[in-house]
């Protein structure tokens, strides 16, 4: 384990920033280009995870455990969010037999 840590210590924090922002951007693009509600949901998860990674990196580099505790809370929240979100999607699918978000336009009227 010690070997691992000493090897990772040489990676600058900046690279974690860049990696997380790339993943976050991919998540954003995913939300924009897909119409399948589940895939959009998954892209949101991807964005959440990018933030998680960044928080963990910050916490590890600054030596402050608060960041990792935050990640823990985000994971708990993500679990709750997925449960409710998927339940909503299942309801939508039951009513419209599709998960196309364009159908949800009807919510406007």
């Amino acid at each position: 384990m010690d070997n691992f840590v000493s090897s990772i210590q040489t990676v600058p924090l900046n690279h974690y920033l860049i990696l997380s922002s790339i993943i976050f951007t991919i998540g954003v693009i995913g939300v924009l280009i897909r119409r399948n509600a589940i895939i959009i949901f998954m892209s949101v998860e991807l964005m959440l995870n990018a933030v998680n990674l960044l928080l963990t990196a910050f916490s590890a580099y600054y030596g402050d455990a608060a960041g990792q505790v935050f990640v823990f809370f985000i994971m708990a929240l993500a679990a709750a969010e997925v449960a409710v979100g998927l339940a909503i999607i299942v309801m939508v699918y039951r009513n419209t037999s599709s998960v196309d978000i364009n159908i949800l336009n009807r919510l406007k009227w």
């Binding site: 693009i29 991807l46 809370f73 997925v82 409710v84 909503i88």
Partner: protein, 166 residues
Amino acid sequence: MILFYLVSLLTITFSLLVIFTKNPIYSVLYLIATFFTFTIHYVLLNAQFLAVVNFIVYMGAIMVLFLFVLMLMNLNKETEPMKSNLIKIIAVIAGGSLLVTLIGSFKQLDALGISTINKPEIGLVENLGKVLFSDFLLPFEVSSILLLSAMVGAVLLAKKDKTDNG
């Protein structure tokens, strides 16, 4: 060092595959792979607890739910709704500019100049637990209420309405 870049490359590849694969089931599987690489990142950061929690919560529970729902809905490539190419291109351009903005703003952070892990033992269960149950005790309790309400909400939503025949 090299391991980090290798894993990062895998992370980016898999997450790109998530959003560009047509078959939703493949998307879910690629997302699982992405989360697996995230787990490796956490291990590399010596955040062992988070690594395992990520493993259990994301890969073991959340993604199984996704897979479950997708398999039961029987969505596949043929029924997958896709947006037009124009929207796709615009979305990619928008995302790209977001990325440029983000990275541009991070340039400012260089001044902070921290490039070594200070206390590597911070991610161990013991230390994390102490912080969690002392400084963050109230949020911890509140999150349990959140989980409970989410559980009730999910059950209520997914339950078939008995009154009408839908």
